[in-house]
């Protein structure tokens, strides 16, 4: 049954609708933004018993939590000819990951394993002693680097188990008339790859963070030994590349991510950037600056946000302008208490503790941006940060670090400095604090930039068209243009004027007069 573009299976891993965070927010926006599309959410989770933390709108007609852990129903192990055939397939699959010279093809291997998984036979087969011995035989081949690491039986068992759990999603079936939309690379693409291969389901891949890079960082100091890490990361690398090669369309949330996608073998003509969007109505212009000059920051208190650089920069700013305050909005996630202590110690060493306040989680996020004369972002890694475009939507001038898609978001409507450079960050911040006109002008420019290019409406609309396009439906809008190549789109934005006028935030803008 061909897809109509009005039926989408959204594939998530460890995010929506079970966990809060940037990707989940994005999923929620997308699903709510398209009430006319029926969504089937397939969420890869740990045990399958995680609670649903997002309220699912009525157009999510089904939600399935697919557990990667926990026991699988015992099935008869493969015997005789079946077993020999499996071992042959499995050894080729392993060789494709561990020995690039072997000429074995990962893609064909994965499809063969998917066939077994769909018959419910893969887990038992992979947990067999024979499969374990295959791995031990292959990775001790003297010409492979991994052999030099002297892998043990325990390593083989661990690696096999991790692979077995990771491959479980191959068994998940998708409706044949849907578009499969994986909202991250990696394991979430497994059901989509199988559905595309066996049932001809169109496969859309969206990346927010860079999945493979996060796996590299996650396993780097992990508890796994070198051989295990090598096997698992080879698996992720090959799977990632396969997803990039096979996806009918890849939609990163910024241009910066394309670097990894192209490196992984994604065809350039199948990558289309669709920026995250924000509802300018929910983040209206914040009005006049606070009475006391204040730097505001909003996010999770986490090392990846590099708050140390922010605090150092703040100390330098305060040396020049002693009345400036720094307000940090956002929760300290479980396990990050040490990091907060470290920050407090640093502030004390710099003698600026009295100027910094930790405001914790707040419900009205817009007020966090309103609290700042300048909104700061000091992260060392970002995709296309919501906190930045939200602050811009509030008409605040921003100083942010040049990571991920930040430069694309900010354009000429804010200041961008290199990461981990407190002195440069302080210099930029002082420039803004000392020049009220410049600051106000940047703020106004930021808001109009968001309204022009990064509205939720535009982002959701981009995906609506992509779904229809992938489903092969006739073009619903006569003049289709690439969705989020900002420069190329100015004429289209004007063409859409009459359409977009119906949106409530345009009324607000019209009366506000700050945009045109």
């Amino acid at each position: 049954m061909p897809s109509s573009g009005r039926h989408v299976t959204m594939l998530t891993e460890g995010t929506y609708p079970h966990i809060h965070g940037g990707v989940s927010t994005w999923c929620d926006q997308l699903v709510r933004g398209m009430p006319e599309v029926d969504f089937n959410v397939l969420a890869l989770t740990g045990s399958g018993r995680e609670p649903v933390t997002w309220e699912l709108p009525p157009n999510v007609y089904r939600h399935t939590a697919f557990p990667l852990w926990g026991t699988v129903p015992a099935r008869r192990p493969l015997l005789g000819k079946e077993r020999r055939r499996f071992i042959d397939v499995y050894e080729r699959f392993l060789l494709s990951m561990l020995d690039p010279e072997s000429g074995c093809d990962f893609t064909q291997g994965l499809y063969a394993l998917a066939r077994l998984a769909r018959a419910g036979r893969l887990s038992a087969a992979m947990r067999s002693e024979a499969a374990l011995r295959s791995l031990m035989w292959i990775w001790t081949m003297p010409h492979l680097q991994i052999a030099a690491a002297r892998p043990t039986v325990h390593d083989a068992l661990t690696a096999t188990d991790l692979l077995e759990h990771a491959l479980r999603p191959l068994a998940a079936r998708l409706p044949e008339d849907c578009v499969a939309h994986a909202v991250s690379s990696g394991l979430a693409t497994l059901p989509a790859l199988a559905a595309q291969h066996f049932d001809g389901v169109p496969f859309l891949l969206t990346e927010h963070g860079i999945y493979l890079r996060e796996r590299y960082l996650g396993y780097r100091t992990g508890e796994q030994s070198w051989p295990v890490k090598s096997v698992i990361l080879s698996f992720y690398r090959e799977l990632n590349s396969m997803g990039y090669r096979q996806a009918d369309l890849i939609t990163p949330c910024n241009q910066y991510n394309r670097r990894w996608e192209e490196r992984g073998g994604a065809p350039v003509d199948r990558i289309r950037t669709v920026y995250n969007g924000v509802d300018p109505n929910l983040f209206p212009h914040a009005g006049p600056d606070p009475a006391v000059p204040t730097l505001s920051w909003c996010g999770r208190v986490d090392p990846i946000k590099d708050l140390e650089t922010l605090i150092r920069a703040y100390a330098m700013v305060r040396a020049e302008l002693p009345e400036v305050r720094l307000r940090l909005f956002g929760p300290v996630p479980a396990g990050n208490a040490d990091y907060r202590t470290r920050l407090e110690k640093l502030a004390a060493e710099l003698g600026v503790s009295d100027g910094i306040s930790y405001e914790g989680r707040i419900s009205d996020v817009a007020s966090a941006y309103a609290a700042g004369s300048v909104v700061m972002l000091s992260s060392i890694s970002e995709g296309f940060p919501f906190s930045l475009i939200e602050a811009m939507s509030c008409g605040r001038a921003t100083v942010s670090t040049d990571v991920g898609g930040v430069r694309e978001a900010v354009g000429d409507a804010g200041l961008v400095v290199p990461p981990r450079e407190p002195a440069l960050m302080a210099e930029a911040t002082l420039a803004l604090l000392r020049d009220d006109t410049y600051r106000t002008e940047l703020g106004a420019r930021a808001r109009s930039r968001v309204v022009d290019q990064f509205t939720l409406h535009r982002s959701v609309d981009g995906f609506r068209r992509i779904y229809l396009e992938l489903a092969g439906s006739p073009e619903p809008v006569p003049r289709y243009a690439p969705v989020a190549e900002p420069r190329a789109e100015v004429p289209q934005a004007l063409d859409d004027w009459t359409l977009e006028l119906v949106d409530p935030w345009y009324r607000e803008l019209a009366s506000d007069g700050s945009v045109w």
């Binding site: 947990r127 039986v153 325990h154 991250s184 690379s185 590299y216 780097r220 508890e223 051989p227 890694s381």
Partner: protein, 484 residues
């Protein structure tokens, strides 16, 4: 940004720390200088892209890379760095975690609370006294055994279900299972005891009902890890039983000493259950939970081992009638030895895990495992032997400990330990099948009068031990059986 199922292990500790540039170190080649600073990270990397990931996570942008290092982007720089540093294969940081570490005192405490309730029979003996029943057995034997076996089987299944929920991290569901299951089991075994009681055995049926309630409460306390509470509940009775050696206690006092632990254990169990927040019990929603049928083999395993232990204790009585002595020291030694047995099971698991980590071939692992099994089983049999000898010396009026009885007991011990070993590795079906068959054959021999328990016992236990040993060898020599 995108979530990961291994998120719990990630976070701040995984962010690499690249030592900052030392101001005085001016290298001729900036890439060499960077390779030097990142040496450890690069040496342990599995692919150049891992180095690129580390560079980017440190905030290094392509613009910076082009101006400082003259490379096009992080990938090109990473490839260069990866090629300049020799690979090293660091072992996992810190001592290997041993998930099977078990504290010996905790295991001994469990053994103690398994064995102490047996003293209730000592304390209650005068209350049960009466003429031999219709089978020529001491009064009350049949209802007591029927109640005990029913309760034992039920509670083994129930414990498994509770542990299965706990294993899923769902304490409320475990508590809900216990809240429903424990009283149901108590009622069931009390009814079975009542149905099995003959004329004039009402007091035995009453005693069996108390035993049923105790077993239910103990199951709750043990599943929720409240062994200490259980021990406290049993103390008055233990003191009373000890006193009977020197004094003849009045019936009223004996009854009170029997009822007190019963009331205490029940109260503790209620408290333990009320401490767990109520939940939907896993039944009200469609999230997958353990299947009821999955607990059945565990119940059958309880049946098999229960019959084996009871046979070792009262087999002679059934064969020779009311005049013969109950082999109480055997039963006490077997139950007490369950504590060390449990500890040795944990030892075996942690030793075999060490074997997995030390071996690089399947053959090497098989050899190491065989060695460990021999040591642990040998250790268990020595402990059982010592307890039996000690018990026979201390117990007033214990039957003589002949070579045949001792062999039978040690073989039964071997059956129990190897069966527990198989059960702990998930092979509960085969363990239950062997134990139930062995127990069944023994009961059948008793019922038909084919052979005396003194000879039937050791022979049946011997055959079962050989079968179980073969199963252990076939199963546990495989590395895949040792998944953590």
């Amino acid at each position: 940004m995108s979530g990961s199922l291994w998120l719990g292990k990630e976070g701040q500790d995984t962010l690499p720390f690249i030592p900052r540039q030392r101001p005085h170190a001016v290298a001729a080649d900036p890439i060499d200088e960077l390779a030097d600073r990142m040496e450890e990270l690069i040496a342990a990397a599995v692919h150049p892209d891992e180095v690129a990931a580390i560079l980017e996570s440190d905030g290094m942008t392509d613009a910076h890379i082009r101006t400082t290092y003259g490379r096009q982007d992080s990938f090109e720089l990473a490839e260069d760095l990866y090629a300049r540093v020799e690979r090293r294969y660091p072992s996992v940081a810190g001592p290997a975690a041993d998930p099977w570490h078990a504290a010996l005192p905790a295991c001994l405490l469990r053994g103690l609370v398994f064995a102490l309730p047996g003293l209730a029979y000592v304390l209650g003996a005068p209350l049960l006294a009466g003429p031999p029943d219709r089978f020529g057995l001491p009064a009350g034997t049949v209802p007591l055994l029927a109640g005990a076996v029913t309760g034992w089987v039920w509670n083994q299944g129930l414990s498994h279900r509770a542990y299965a929920w706990l294993g899923l991290g769902d304490r409320p569901a475990a508590a809900a299972a216990l809240r429903t299951g424990a009283p149901l089991g108590a009622v069931l075994s009390a009814l079975v005891a009542l149905a099995a009681s003959g004329p004039g055995e009402l007091s035995a049926a009453g005693f069996a009902a108390g035993q049923a309630v105790y077993l239910a409460a103990a199951t709750v306390l043990l599943a929720l890890g409240r062994e200490r509470d259980l021990l406290v509940a049993l103390l008055p009775m233990t003191a009373g039983a000890a006193a009977t050696v020197a004094l003849d206690l009045p019936d009223l006092l004996r009854t009170a000493l029997l009822l007190l632990p019963l009331a205490a254990a029940t109260a503790f169990a209620r408290r333990a259950l009320s401490g767990v927040p109520g939940g939907d019990g896993g039944a009200a929603d469609d999230r997958p939970g353990p299947r009821l049928a999955a607990s059945v083999p565990y119940a059958l395993f309880g049946l098999g081992t229960g019959v084996l232990v009871l046979y070792a204790a009262v087999g002679d009585v059934f064969a020779d009638g009311a005049g013969s002595a109950v082999a109480a020291p055997s039963a006490v030694a077997l139950t007490l030895s369950m504590g060390p047995a449990e500890w040795l099971l944990y030892r075996f698991r942690s030793e075999s895990l060490a074997g997995l980590r030390a071996s690089t071939t399947a053959y090497g692992f098989r050899k190491a495992t065989a060695n460990t099994i021999a040591v642990c089983l040998g250790g268990y049999l020595v402990i059982l032997f010592a307890l039996t000898v000690l018990g026979t010396l201390l117990w007033p009026g214990a039957p003589e400990l002949g070579a045949l009885r001792l062999t039978g007991l040690l073989l039964t011990g071997m059956v129990l330990w190897t069966a527990l070993l198989l059960q702990s590795f998930g092979a509960v079906r085969s363990a239950a099948a062997v134990c139930c068959t062995a127990g069944g054959v023994q009961v059948l021999a008793l019922a038909t009068g084919a052979g005396h328990p003194r000879t039937v016992g050791p022979v049946v236990a011997g055959v079962a031990a050989v079968v179980l040993a073969a199963l252990v060898g076939a199963l546990l020599g495989r590395a895949t059986a040792h998944r953590v």
